[in-house]
């Protein structure tokens, strides 16, 4: 155990060091000193040997010198007085003919870290700045930074600062970069190096000469520069363009960060920079070294906050390898969840399903909750997988599945039937607190639909004495009370027992208080209790598809390429994903709003000429509001009718289904909020949309048309619509089919001309009223045109 029993070793070494025979033989002397260093690095306190080592310093043998310096730098602060003796030797070495000796002496003089020695060090440092050899200048420059670090309150001479500035033009790139680093530290209080146009251009021109580390530091410093004109900005960016696709991930990331900083006001430039950096970033994600892969993944996650669709096509790159460590797998899964869309969902789910049985329980649980996240948009497939996993009867898997069920049901209440059916028998495998809590919550809230709920609860209540976890007890109380309210006959007895135990015998105050609260609540009568306890079963504010609010790039750019994305992270903010479209803070630009109003007015006025039929004046209204579940149900119902009767019979029955293509070059796929706001102005409610930038991109809308005073239609109709925007050429034949049927061909005639980019609009109306529908379509078209025009600007 070298930590404590080093005293003998130290004694022996001292004897050897002071032995004149050893001192006279250079090889033995050096070997003894090597031994000292070895003992030191094992953790033995060898500070007692300081005087002997100081003596050993005066030698011509460079190897011995280096070894002694390692020792001295570690222990100088313990022996400030004795260290003074070394200074003399060091100062003499600073005038040696050999530049290596000079730089060595200078470096170690500054490494001693003794504030008292500063006065002796300054002179050699000043001389060192003007040394012929680059390696001495490198050391001297950083020496000033060390000196400043040692005495932060003491001012560094302005002349020295000026000299450092002039050394930025040194012929050696490392000296230049060291100057930048030193100035950054010395002038920290003033905000670092003054970056003006000249320095910027000088640094940019020399960038190629620096090594990887130097490039990173230079790029970091350049972030503070503000180009005066846009022309200059683009000059700089085009100069840096090659670095953006550099093979070294640190340089690439630093360049990207610089791009984002410099062009903060120009979203299109940022966007294209991100697109260009995609390739190298993906390459880094597949890098050989796992740490680099991890870092790259963390940065990908950061980028996806603003441009989730950017890497959509490359989702396969984020599939986990078998031998990858858990931290990489979990990151990859988080990325995969963000990349899901209609086309790859089954592939992704298959892949995630494979991870659920991972040997590492944490990875398995992460995979299960990832499936749960996807389940918010694709509930059927995910529920199949999750219920299948319950069959494995593995403790950690069941626990994760039940927790995922709880989260899923909260967001998508339509899943509750499947979940309730799957809960049977889970209690046998569940062991951990979190899983049992989730199960209790589900039993409490959906107790009336789970046949065995009272029996399961009874099991828990019988074992409550042996229960250790307070949170499970609290959850049990709440669940028992809720179940009592829905199934009083079966639960009354056990609730009584539970309350009795919790009030009379329980030691924990929280549990006891909760039990007392419930007890008193029940005394007020079941109706009162129901009013208090029966809270919302789900979050009604959530849509069918959930889009996470988009972060602007500036929100994360300052954290890009630092430690931050690596440490924040493992927990993706769950609460924020629960934000529904209604809760988004969308503040469309004021000008856009004005413009839109004007334009829609015009559109409404001129719709007669566009449509070519009777000017159908419709007014739209949002009330009565439609809940997401109703919307989904109705959409699917209308669809199934449509399927059953075949395409030709679209208009039979009391509803109408229209598919129509509209040419639209640019849809604001990256800012759905603006579209949403625009639609809201004309009383069309956006129900849900896919994550921005994902392709195909979908929006679901609904509105009610109201009979205009002079129109022929007599009743209100409900209109549901889906906008589908995909990059590939749409299937025009199908559109034609329905066009012929619905008699709206004039509107959609130009769909095939511009060809490449179209929005496919599927509209379902109930009851049917083609005049009102054409009015609706007209307004929708006008809005989309306006928004896409805005987009182009």
């Amino acid at each position: 155990m070298p930590y404590l029993s080093g005293e003998d070793a130290v004694k022996e070494l001292r004897r050897a060091l002071s032995n004149p025979n050893v001192q006279s033989d250079p090889l033995r002397y050096r070997n003894t000193i090597t031994k000292v260093i070895r003992v030191m690095s094992q953790g033995v306190d060898v500070s007692g040997l300081f005087p002997e080592m100081v003596k050993a310093c005066a030698t011509v043998d460079i190897v011995q010198k280096k070894l002694v310096y390692v020792f001295l730098c570690s222990y100088a602060s313990l022996n400030p007085q004795l260290s003074l003796l070394v200074i003399n030797t060091l100062r003499k070495d600073c005038q040696d003919a050999n530049p290596m000796v000079r730089s060595l002496a200078l470096r170690n003089m500054t490494n001693l870290r003794l504030p008292g020695l500063a006065e002796y060090v300054e002179q050699p440092l000043t001389v060192g700045l003007r040394d012929r050899a680059a390696c001495v200048r490198r050391v001297a420059v950083l020496g000033w930074a060390k000196l400043h670090n040692l005495q932060p309150q003491a001012e560094i001479d302005a002349a020295v600062v000026n000299e450092l500035y002039s050394l930025l033009r040194d012929s050696d790139p490392v000296v230049m970069v060291n100057c930048l680093r030193a100035l950054e530290e010395i002038l920290k209080d003033e905000g670092g190096v003054a970056i003006n146009k000249n320095i910027t251009h000088h640094l940019l021109n020399r960038l190629k000469e620096c090594d990887v580390w130097g490039q990173c530091d230079v790029l970091r410093v350049l972030e503070r520069y503000r180009p005066q004109t846009e022309g200059e900005l683009f000059d700089i960016l085009s100069l840096l363009d090659s670095c953006l696709t550099c093979a070294h991930p640190p340089v690439m990331a630093a360049t990207l960060r610089l791009f984002l900083c410099l062009s903060a006001g120009l979203p299109s430039v940022c966007q294209s920079a991100l697109e260009r950096a995609c390739g190298p970033l993906l390459a880094a994600c597949g890098s050989n070294s796992r740490e680099m892969r991890f870092t790259a993944l963390a940065h990908v996650q950061l980028m996806m906050q603003s441009v989730p669709g950017l890497l959509g096509a490359h989702y396969k790159r984020f599939f986990c390898g078998y031998a990858e460590p858990a931290f990489i797998k979990q990151r990859k899964m988080q990325v995969l969840v963000e990349l899901v869309n209609d086309e790859n969902v089954s592939m992704l789910l298959d892949e995630l399903k494979g991870y659920c049985t991972d040997v590492d329980p944490d990875t398995a649980q992460a995979a299960i909750s990832a499936i749960g996240r996807i389940g918010r948009s694709y509930s059927d497939k995910c529920l199949d997988i999750l219920t299948g996993l319950l069959g494995l009867r593995q403790e950690h898997i069941t626990s994760a599945v039940v927790q995922t069920f709880r989260d899923l049901v909260w967001v998508c209440p339509q899943c509750s039937d499947v979940v309730c059916a799957a809960l049977q028998g889970c209690e046998e495998t569940l062991q951990d607190d979190q899983g049992r809590q989730a199960l209790l919550w589900l039993l409490g809230v959906y107790g009336e639909r789970v046949a065995t709920a009272p029996y399961v609860l009874e099991g828990f209540i019988d074992g409550v004495r042996a229960e250790v976890s307070v949170s499970v007890k609290l959850e049990l109380l709440a669940a028992a009370l809720r179940l009592f309210l829905s199934r009083p006959a079966e639960t009354q007895d056990m609730l009584g027992r539970l309350l009795h135990y919790c009030i009379e015998e329980e030691r924990d105050m929280c549990v006891r208080d909760q039990a007392l609260l419930y007890y008193r609540l029940l005394q007020c009568g079941p109706e009162q209790a129901r009013r208090v306890v029966e809270a919302r079963r789900s979050d009604p504010a959530l849509g069918v598809l959930i889009g996470r609010p988009l972060q602007p790039i500036d929100a994360w750019a300052h954290g890009f390429n630092t430690l931050q994305p690596l440490s924040t992270a493992a927990a993706t903010p769950d609460s924020s994903t629960r934000g529904s479209p209604e809760h988004l803070h969308c503040e469309p630009k004021h000008t856009l709003t004005e413009e839109l109003k004007a334009l829609t007015d015009v559109a409404e006025l001129s719709q007669g000429s566009v449509v070519g039929v009777e000017p159908a004046v419709v007014s739209l209204s949002l009330s009565p509001a439609l809940s997401p579940e109703d919307f989904e149900e109705m959409w699917l119902q209308l669809q199934s009718l449509h399927m059953d009767q075949g395409a030709s019979a679209v208009e039979e029955g009391d509803f109408l289904c229209v598919v129509k293509l509209m040419p639209c070059q640019m849809l604001p796929v990256n800012s759905p909020q603006s579209l949403q706001a625009a639609l809201q102005l004309v009383n069309i409610q956006t129900m849900a949309f896919t994550p921005p930038n994902a392709l195909p991109w979908k929006v679901y809308l609904y509105t009610h048309t109201q009979p205009a005073p002079d129109s022929t239609s007599a009743e209100c109709t409900l209109v549901l619509a889906e906008l589908l925007y995909s990059s590939d050429t749409p299937d025009s034949s199908r559109a034609e089919l329905s066009e012929d049927n619905d008699g709206l061909s004039p509107l959609s005639g130009d769909g095939r001309k511009s060809g490449d980019r179209c929005v496919k609009i599927t509209v379902k109306q109930k009851p049917r009223d083609s005049a009102a529908l054409s009015g609706f379509l007209c307004i929708l078209t006008a809005v989309l045109n306006t928004v896409s025009a805005e987009c182009k600007l």
């Binding site: 260093i37 460079i62 602060s77 580390w213 680099m292 069959g391 440490s567």
Partner: protein
């Protein structure tokens, strides 16, 4: 910038520690002072050494000795970030208090590993302990005040003095120049051994891909002839093997020896490369391999053959799917060489589907085990003689999945070591001629050894 660099072994003992900036390890200092047995008098000094130990210990406790596996390559302890990279069982940790560019720190650690490998080979505890002075020197040059300075191995060479520039004698220096300029750069004059010895190793690795029906899809042997020579003076050596071209040529000449040999198999070598000592002109014209060997161990030649390979083992797999949740696997291995020889370290790896829940194995010989983490049944046999056969049968229970796609059935792979050359290569002679010193070919003690190992030896199932 990097505050410090530490190297740990797998037990968490510090092998190397180098602190560049004072800020690291300050926080944990107080708690350390309370718990440690430092005398109150020394408490007044801000003990850098103590600080460093703290940062170091924190990392050991939180990462290396942590029960779970590593959760992230960056660990935050007391507001200090530890970036760690593991190479074999050595941990390299860079420590910093600043919000640094993470990709750069990792890239730097990789570079550090590269530099160390370039200087002393594989990064292992032993190598690090043996070269710790060199490492301190490297750390001093590569980083200054936590800023990377100079990380190119070539450029570093001028600054690193570990062999001692001043320590070199004139004699040694003149030797170096003669080695660089002289005719024979790989051997110095005046080597003397009391016993002249020669060790010759023929090391081959045999690669195979076989179809389930036993058809060879691809097979090749890549081999090396490694020689260890302890010979005095400047001996001239001649090496002969059963190369087909040579044998045929000699056969025409009616050489008696060649006649004896032609009964045996001769082999066709596809391509070969030699150590720089071999006279290539002579090889091209006469196909004879003659050379003045370097002293000590070196690789004489490297070759590849694809024809007439003796496959030491045959693997016969039988996989039967019984229903959706059960799989029966039977694998027979047959050894195909002389019964007097013994193969060693045999390992057969039978992959199992991902949804395997349990495995029952019965094998006649050796030990077999199902390794869930590797998704394979690993069957190990210590020794097996030639012309024998052994079999394993396993019942694999599967978890029911509603997975439509079938299991991909990765190939069965095998590892072994046999005491002959699967290519059929034989060393016919190795003659040593030294004219100046008075020892002859007969006085040299020669050892020849053949080792055949498996490369990628796979059979599809």
């Amino acid at each position: 910038m990097i505050g410090g660099l530490f190297i740990y072994n797998h037990k968490g003992e510090v092998l190397i520690s180098r602190v560049y900036r004072d800020d690291i390890g300050y926080v944990a200092q107080r708690s350390f002072m309370v718990t440690s047995c430092i005398k109150p008098a020394t408490l007044f000094n801000v003990n850098l050494f103590v600080c460093r130990r703290n940062a170091v210990d924190a990392f050991r406790v939180n990462v290396i000795h942590a029960r779970q596996q590593v959760r992230s390559p960056v660990t935050n302890i007391a507001r200090t970030s530890f970036f760690h990279v593991k190479r074999s069982n050595i941990w390299l940790a860079a420590v910093t208090k600043q919000n640094v560019n993470a990709a750069m720190v990792f890239e730097f650690l990789y570079k550090m590993c590269d530099v160390m490998t370039a200087y002393f080979g594989k990064i292992s505890e032993e190598n690090i302990k043996n070269n710790f002075v060199l490492i301190y020197e490297l750390l001093d040059e590569i980083l200054d005040f936590g800023y990377p300075q100079n990380s190119e191995t070539g450029a570093l060479k001028t600054f690193i003095t570990q062999q001692g520039i001043k320590g070199q004698t004139k004699e040694e220096q003149s030797q170096i120049t003669s080695q660089v300029t002289g005719q024979i750069g790989w051997r110095r004059e005046g080597i003397k051994y009391r016993r002249n010895e020669l060790f010759l190793d023929v090391l081959e690795s045999v690669n195979l891909l076989m179809s389930p029906q036993g058809q060879v899809l691809s097979a090749h042997v890549s081999g090396r002839v490694v020689m260890k020579s302890y010979l005095s003076g400047m001996p001239e050596c001649k090496f002969g093997m059963n190369d087909k071209i040579v044998i045929d040529k000699q056969g025409k000449g009616g050489d008696l020896y060649a006649f004896c040999c032609s009964g045996k198999q001769s082999i066709a070598i596809d391509d070969c490369t030699f150590h720089q000592c071999v006279r290539l002109s002579k090889f091209d014209s006469e196909r004879s391999i003659s050379f003045i060997p370097p002293d000590g161990e070196y690789e004489l030649m490297r070759y590849r053959t694809t024809k007439d390979i003796i496959l030491p083992f045959r693997v016969i797999p039988l996989v039967r799917e019984v229903g959706r949740t059960k799989l029966e696997v039977k694998v027979v291995i047959k050894s195909n060489f002389k019964p007097s020889l013994l193969a060693q370290k045999i390992e057969v790896r039978i992959p199992t589907p991902l949804n395997t829940s349990g495995v029952q194995v019965i094998c006649m010989k050796g030990k077999a085990k199902y390794k869930a983490s590797e998704n394979a049944i690993v069957w190990k046999i210590k020794r097996m003689a030639g012309m024998k056969e052994s079999q394993i049968s396993a019942e694999i229970e599967l978890l029911p999945t509603n997975d439509k796609k079938k299991w991909a059935r990765p190939p069965i792979s095998m590892n072994f070591e046999v005491p002959f050359a699967p290519s059929g290569l034989k060393v016919r002679y190795l003659k040593v001629f030294e004219s100046k010193l008075n020892y002859s070919d007969h006085d040299v003690i020669k050892w020849v050894r053949y080792i055949g190992r498996s490369g990628i030896y796979e059979t599809r199932c």
